[in-house]
Structure formats: structure tokens, C-alpha cells
């Protein structure tokens, strides 16, 4: 295969996010993918709701468990509903997602980090009131 042919092949097999494949596919096959996704998502959701109210596990571990379950469920949604995969036809979609995740992490972790430090260094409210008097 020459270089040009490889190039053609790469572009021919790109897929849009949300599409499973560029070519037509069987209805039953597509339905099965969504059903598997629904099953996984339901399972994770039920576990998350169960864990939030249980006293069976060590209490400080609950927020971490909920966090991990949420990330897992977002992954399930991305793979089975939005069809963002690791395949060569999905490189553009994955790269855009990776950049989005980077910004989201910077924004959320940065805000929480900065605000907790500000809280720590702030003069308590009653002292502010006294100083204004």
C-alpha cells in the first residue's frame, strides 16, 4: 500500500462522535450497544444510590467511592452512548475530549485549591465586624 492509499484509508474511516461506524450497520447490533450501556449505567447508578445511604462501609470512604462511580458512569456514557472510542477513526474526538477534560480539571481543582487557602487565611467574620466598629 502506498502512502497516498494509506492516507485515503485513514480519512475514509473517520467517524463523527455519536456514530458507531462510518458505514451503515445493522439495527440490532446498534441496539445491543445501547442496551449494554443502559445496563452498565443502571448498575453503577443503583450502586451509587445504595452506597450513599449505607452504614455498611467506612463512612469517610463514601465520597471517594461516589466520585469513582461517577467517573466510571461518565465513561460508560461516553463509550456506549456517544461512541467515543480509542479506535483510529476516533483520534480527533478523543483529543478534543482530552483537552476538555484538562480544562475542566484545571478549573475545578484550581478553584477548590485556591478557595480553601483563602478560607484558611481569611479573618473570621466576627473579627471583621469588630474592626468596623
Amino acid at each position: 500500500m502506498s502512502g497516498t492509499e494509506q492516507h485515503l484509508h485513514l480519512h475514509a474511516s473517520d467517524t463523527a462522535p455519536g456514530d458507531e461506524r462510518a458505514d451503515g450497520r445493522e439495527v440490532a447490533e446498534g441496539l445491543l450497544g445501547y442496551l449494554i450501556g443502559l445496563g452498565f449505567a443502571t448498575l453503577i447508578t443503583v450502586v451509587a444510590f445504595f452506597i450513599s445511604g449505607t452504614s455498611l462501609v467506612w463512612q469517610p470512604s463514601i465520597p471517594i467511592a461516589l466520585f469513582v462511580l461517577a467517573i466510571a458512569q461518565m465513561g460508560v456514557h461516553l463509550v456506549f452512548f456517544l461512541h467515543i472510542t480509542t479506535g483510529p477513526d476516533n483520534v480527533n474526538n478523543v483529543l478534543a475530549l482530552a483537552f476538555g477534560v484538562l480544562i475542566v480539571l484545571l478549573l475545578m481543582v484550581g478553584s477548590l485549591w485556591i478557595m480553601s487557602h483563602l478560607n484558611h487565611n481569611m479573618v473570621p467574620m466576627d473579627r471583621v465586624m469588630q474592626m468596623q466598629r
Binding site: 497516498t4 492516507h7 485515503l8 480519512h11 475514509a12 473517520d14 467517524t15 463523527a16 462522535p17 455519536g18 456514530d19 462510518a22 458505514d23 451503515g24 439495527v27 446498534g30 441496539l31 445501547y34 442496551l35 450501556g37 443502559l38 449505567a41 443502571t42 447508578t45 451509587a48 444510590f49 450513599s52 445511604g53 463514601i62 465520597p63 461516589l66 466520585f67 462511580l69 461517577a70 458512569q73 461518565m74 456514557h77 461516553l78 452512548f81 456517544l82 480527533n92 474526538n93 478534543a96 475530549l97 483537552f99 476538555g100 480544562i103 475542566v104 478549573l107 475545578m108 478553584s111 477548590l112 478557595m115
Partner: protein, 215 residues
């Protein structure tokens, strides 16, 4: 030539301004891929906007100003029903997008209608929850925690409302114009939008409701 057709895959070769087929095959992706990719970029920017609201909520969630905390005002059984509605609607939306690509009218209209009903049920429950909270004096003006709560969850509810309007528009457009390639691209974008709303809801029910009650 065959490559160009394989690239689009939806009976609409990408040739709008006299580009030859080999030209299209060498560098240009099909319009469906370009539209889907562009909308994916928009959705990621929407997610980044939501992450700012999430960060605000996480910073302010403890600042109740002597008012009610999450434990006092959240009802997890309602949230569970809301979650089930959105998750099932995400599934039926997927079925609808299969139906649209396979040009199966009954599958498309049926699952779009179920998606609309589930989305409306979600909105009804959310509005009832908001109204109930305002009625007991836990409105957005009560504390920084409640301001952040109503901003974050309300913004998601606003997205669901717009999504519902878009959903009905897509049903009407397919009814009026059939399963044309340009209409199918809009259905693709709508499905992406609806699935993304469910992803954001996963973040909301975890960070706001489950963690708020577990605290």
C-alpha cells in the same frame, strides 16, 4: 470516487463547490463528520461552563448562613426517579438515532416520543422540587449554598428544556422533510446534546445530591 462515497456513507457525496471526488477523498472528511465534530467541540465548551458552576457549588456548598443544608432539603427518592427518567431517555434517544439512520419511521417517532415524555417527566419533578424548596423558605436568596444549588441545577434544567424544544423540532422536521442527509445531521447533533445532558446529570446527582446527603 468510491472512497468519497464511503466517507459520507449517507448518500450525500461531499461536493458542493466543484471539488472533484479525488480532492474530497484526499483531504476532506464528510459533512456529517465535520458537523458532528464541530458540535462535539461546542458540547465540550458547554461542559467547561458547567464545570465552573460545579466549582462554584463545591466552594459554596458549606456556606448555609444558618439556613437549611442539603440534608434538610434534598429528597433522594425524587432524585432517583429523575435519574431513571434521564437515563432511560438517553437510551430511547439512542434508539431514535438508530431509527433515523435506518430510515425506520416508526422506530424514530416512537422512541423520540418516549424520550420527550421522559424528559418532560424529569422537568416536572425538578420544577416541583424547586417550588417546594422556595415554599419552605429555601429559595436561591436564602444562602450562598442555595444560590449555587439553584444556579447549577437550574442551568441543567434549562438545557433540558431547550433540548425538549429541539427534540420536538426534529420530529417535526423529519415529518415535513423526511430522512434527508441534512436533517439526519441535525438529529445526530440533537442526540449528542441529549446524551451530554445525561453525563452532566451524573455529575449533579453525585456531587450535589448524594454527597450532600452523605455529609
Amino acid at each position: 470516487m468510491s472512497v468519497a462515497q464511503a466517507t459520507t456513507g449517507y448518500g450525500e457525496p461531499y461536493r458542493t463547490d466543484g471539488r472533484t471526488a479525488s480532492h474530497a477523498a484526499l483531504g476532506l472528511a464528510s459533512k456529517r463528520i465535520i458537523v458532528g465534530y464541530g458540535f462535539w467541540i461546542f458540547l465540550l465548551s458547554d461542559i467547561i461552563m458547567f464545570s465552573a458552576f460545579f466549582a462554584t457549588y463545591a466552594v459554596l456548598s458549606g456556606e448555609t448562613a444558618g439556613g437549611p443544608s442539603g440534608k434538610d432539603v434534598f429528597h433522594l427518592n425524587i432524585v432517583a426517579i429523575e435519574t431513571a427518567c434521564l437515563l432511560l431517555s438517553s437510551f430511547t434517544c439512542g434508539v431514535a438515532s438508530i431509527g433515523s439512520r435506518a430510515h425506520k419511521a416508526l422506530m424514530y417517532y416512537g422512541s423520540m416520543a418516549v424520550t420527550a415524555v421522559l424528559g418532560a417527566a424529569f422537568l416536572f419533578l425538578e420544577i416541583r422540587e424547586f417550588a417546594g424548596m422556595v415554599a419552605v423558605g429555601a429559595g436561591p436568596t436564602r444562602s450562598a449554598f442555595l444560590s449555587a444549588f439553584f444556579t447549577l441545577v437550574g442551568c441543567h434544567g434549562l438545557h433540558v428544556t431547550l433540548g425538549l424544544l429541539w427534540l420536538l423540532t426534529m420530529m417535526a422536521q423529519v415529518l415535513a422533510k423526511g430522512f434527508r442527509a441534512d436533517i439526519l445531521r441535525r438529529v445526530l447533533c440533537f442526540a449528542l446534546f441529549w446524551h451530554t445532558l445525561d453525563i452532566i446529570w451524573v455529575g449533579i446527582f453525585t456531587v450535589v445530591y448524594l454527597m450532600g446527603v452523605a455529609q
